[in-house]
């Protein structure tokens, strides 16, 4: 087996594939990256850890069919460091030789026959622009839980109903929901999937840079490849095992009526929250008092440092005092992707909804909603 490929093309493909390699593989071969030149003269690079698989297909300048397994991490480091010249990879017995310009590396190969077969892609379900998909996933993934002991809260729920995809995630303290349009393969396709949040965020981000469309592969109930989701775009494909589909019945938790709506300049709001939060310990609140045309931001407590800042805010409705975890607030403000932040309240102990700007049509729910539970202050 041998192939020749441009250094930049190879380095990018190897780096992308290496992302899904396990840091501490349960079986040594899983640390390997599989390189295969097919009969069709295609070069396929793949990695798998039984949960997530990644595969890139590219066209080598020259190639002889064959397959080899080498340390993925080492190959990634080597290709990153190579000079900008064509790279030759040749298998010689139990060694793989990588040559590029004047540099030559000899790598040990791993037993390719012990390497697991990558899962097949489920049937294609539909397509969406990779940039739209990446930004939508990014907006929702901020709200996933980081605590692996509660797997249900570490996932992003994807609900497909015809041409509408709804993504939702919650860590119990906030809930992010994003709706987007896509092109389903079948107009009446319906499916629900819980995708591990970190994998989805990584995948969407890395496919987002291709600029092409992302194809989402997902079987309906009972179809082949159940329990699995696949994403492919521009020669790259990833599959991931799905999580248990349990998820809170979140739609009923989203308030629909409010006693007040405040609009602020997102940039100024973010800066002010960051400043007052300097005196707030982790998980302690930033207090917001909306009245008249302004909001007073405060953090810190009586026997510690305190901070206060006043900001313009357009309030429509009842005056309100409410407190939030500053990290949650900042992450929400970072996710709305809008110059104007719109906060809607009912009471200081009821969920608030953060959205970007005023929707064009007030009767429509905005595409993206970030629900944030307040912090109840004692006394």
């Amino acid at each position: 087996m041998m192939f020749r490929v441009d250094r930049d093309v190879l380095a990018e493909a190897v780096a992308w594939t290496a992302r899904s390699l396990p840091a501490r593989p349960s079986v040594p071969v899983l640390a390997g990256m599989r390189l295969e030149v097919t009969e069709q003269q295609e070069l396929k690079l793949s990695g798998f850890d039984y949960e997530v698989s990644a595969e890139v297909t590219l066209q080598p300048q020259t190639g002889e069919p064959g397959v080899v397994l080498v340390s993925g991490r080492l190959l990634a480091e080597i290709t990153r460091a190579l000079p900008a010249q064509p790279v030759d990879v040749v298998v010689e017995g139990a060694k793989a030789v990588v040559t590029c310009g004047s540099a030559r590396f000899t790598l040990l190969t791993m037993p390719v026959e012990d390497y697991p077969t990558l899962p097949a892609m489920p049937p294609a379900a539909g397509r969406v622009g990779s940039d739209v998909f990446a930004s939508a996933v990014g907006q929702v993934a901020v709200a996933t839980g980081k605590d692996d002991t509660l797997p249900m809260l570490t996932g992003v729920r994807m609900e497909i109903d015809g041409d509408t995809v709804t993504l939702a995630a919650t860590d119990r303290y906030r809930l992010a929901v994003r709706e987007l349009k896509w092109q389903p393969e079948q107009p009446a396709f319906e499916a629900v999937a819980m995708i591990p949040g970190r994998t989805l965020a990584d995948t969407a981000k890395s496919l987002g840079s291709t600029g092409a469309e992302v194809e989402i592969a997902l079987s309906g109930a009972g179809g082949t490849g159940e329990g699995m989701i696949g994403f492919s775009s521009a020669g790259r494909r990833t599959t991931s095992r799905l999580l248990d589909p349990d998820f809170p019945k979140y739609r009923s938790l989203l308030p629909t009526e409010f006693s007040a709506t405040a609009e602020l300049q997102t940039g100024a709001f973010v800066e002010a929250v960051k400043r007052v939060a300097l005196v707030a310990e982790r998980n302690t609140p930033v207090r917001l008092a909306f009245h008249g045309g302004e909001v007073v931001l405060e953090a810190g407590s009586g026997d510690e440092a305190q901070a206060v800042e006043v900001l313009q805010a357009e309030l429509d409705g009842d005056e309100i005092n409410i407190a939030f975890n500053h990290q949650f607030l900042l992450e929400g403000l970072g996710a709305i992707d809008s110059d104007v932040a719109r906060l809607q309240f009912t009471t200081s102990t009821k969920p608030a909804i953060l959205t970007g700007g005023k929707p064009v049509d007030d009767t429509l729910a905005p595409d993206y909603r970030y629900l944030i539970m307040p912090i109840r202050l004692s006394g």
Binding site: P248, T349, M373, L377
Partner: protein, 411 residues
């Protein structure tokens, strides 16, 4: 306590020169027992022992009438009852003690803000700044004694001296219902005849080591060169030498907030059944949470103590996302810690639950979660507190604790 009462008498009474003696040590006499007698005056003048009557409980307090029979605090109940079979046994009602203690501490606070509570029943006061208002330290000591007696019908003993440890020795020395001033120039004369065990920090082990060296009294100790003591006892040696000459630099530190609140329970018989152990963890969690709420604290770190039959002990702790005073949360964490301890199914002699990392509940806030009820466990437990306040400790409790696994019946 008992060992330290073996003090010679004949030191200076309250008329002694109290110049420069600004430190007061106030110690309530047989505090738990005295508080119980407020409600049961018919027991006055009789031997009374406070403690859980059954199994492996210990004496928490005893009246002086009972102490005459050799009963003292921390003694196993079985032994105490053998020594003094005619004593009335009263089970402790901790809530009552904390309440009276709080009120007594408030009396001290009215005299000086420089109050350092040592436990529920004793405190140091630095009255240097209170002389203009209330007179000399001895006068203040007298005032405290009469106010405590008038307002609470319990007695206390007050030691007055220039240092904390001498003041504490003085109050111990004049107990019960006494007042003793150790003038600054009388400290050495007061200290030196005392047995070494009277010194703070000299426990049984140190005492034995000292006696082996032929050092029996504080005077003996004072005459041993510091270098010798340091060789024998390390850093403690220098400290002992200081104490022997009445040197004690520690200041009265007003109000150090509680560092932790905890409860532990020794089983009547060693237990290896996880269900029983968890039930005990629940009971302890309930008690710790109630104490936190009474004291106005929330805690962030839950710590569990597990002692095996062979007395080897481990502690495990976890810091929560936010501070709490809710028994349900404390219990859930305590169970996790127990499950993860590797001691499930191991025979345990004692379990304890403790909350650390305390702060004032006024400053606490609670991150609400999706779908959380506005009125939650915290409110339910506060309601239980109020019921308990009105109807007594047994008014409301978790269903799994209704039939006490270790009631008096079992013993």
């Amino acid at each position: 306590m008992s060992r330290k009462q073996l003090l010679p008498s004949g030191s200076s009474g309250m008329d002694a020169d109290d110049t420069g003696c600004a430190i007061l040590h106030v110690d309530m006499d047989a505090f738990f027992a005295s508080v119980e007698l407020i409600d049961r005056p018919e027991l006055r003048g009789t031997p009374v022992i406070i403690g859980h009557p059954g199994g492996r409980g210990v004496v928490l307090s005893a009246t002086y009438e009972a102490r005459k029979f050799g009963v003292h605090s921390a003694m196993p109940m079985t032994r105490a009852r053998r020594l003094c079979p005619q004593a009335t046994i009263v089970p402790p009602s901790h809530g009552k003690y904390y309440e009276i203690s709080k009120q007594v501490m408030e009396v001290f606070q009215q005299i000086t803000p420089e109050v350092e509570p040592l436990s529920v029943d004793e405190a140091f006061l630095d009255v240097a700044g209170a002389r203009r208002l209330f007179g000399s330290p001895a006068r203040i000591a007298k005032l405290i004694r009469s106010r405590v007696a008038d307002e609470f019908s319990i007695t206390c003993s007050v030691g007055v001296a220039s240092t904390k440890f001498v003041a504490k020795l003085a109050s111990t020395h004049c107990k019960p219902d006494g007042l003793l001033v150790i003038p600054a120039d009388g400290v050495v004369a007061f200290l030196h005849p005392l047995p070494v065990a009277a010194l703070w920090g000299v426990g049984e082990r140190t005492e034995q080591a000292l006696v082996r060296l032929g050092i029996r009294t504080v005077g003996d100790l004072a005459r041993v060169p510091v270098t010798t003591l340091q060789r024998e006892f390390g850093a403690v040696g220098a400290h002992l030498a200081d104490l022997a000459w009445g040197r004690d630099e520690r200041r009265v530190t007003p109000y150090s907030p509680d560092k932790s609140i905890g409860n532990e329970e020794t089983f009547a018989h060693d237990v290896d059944d996880p269900a029983t152990i968890k039930r005990e963890l629940l009971r302890l969690s309930e008690r710790v949470a109630a104490r936190l709420r009474t004291a106005g604290y929330v805690g962030r770190t839950v710590s569990v103590k597990l002692r095996r039959s062979d007395f080897t002990t481990i502690s495990r702790s976890r810091t929560l996302r936010e501070p709490t005073d809710v028994a349900k949360v404390i219990y859930a964490t305590a169970c996790d810690l127990y499950d993860a301890s590797g001691l499930a199914r191991v025979r345990l002699r004692l379990v304890g639950v403790r909350m650390e990392n305390l702060r004032s509940a006024d400053l606490a806030s609670h991150q609400l979660s999706l779908g959380e009820r506005e009125i939650g466990w915290r409110e339910a437990e506060q309601a239980v507190d109020r019921a308990v306040q009105r109807f007594g400790a047994d008014a409301v409790r978790p269903a799994s604790l209704v039939r006490r696994p270790f009631g008096p019946m079992d013993v």
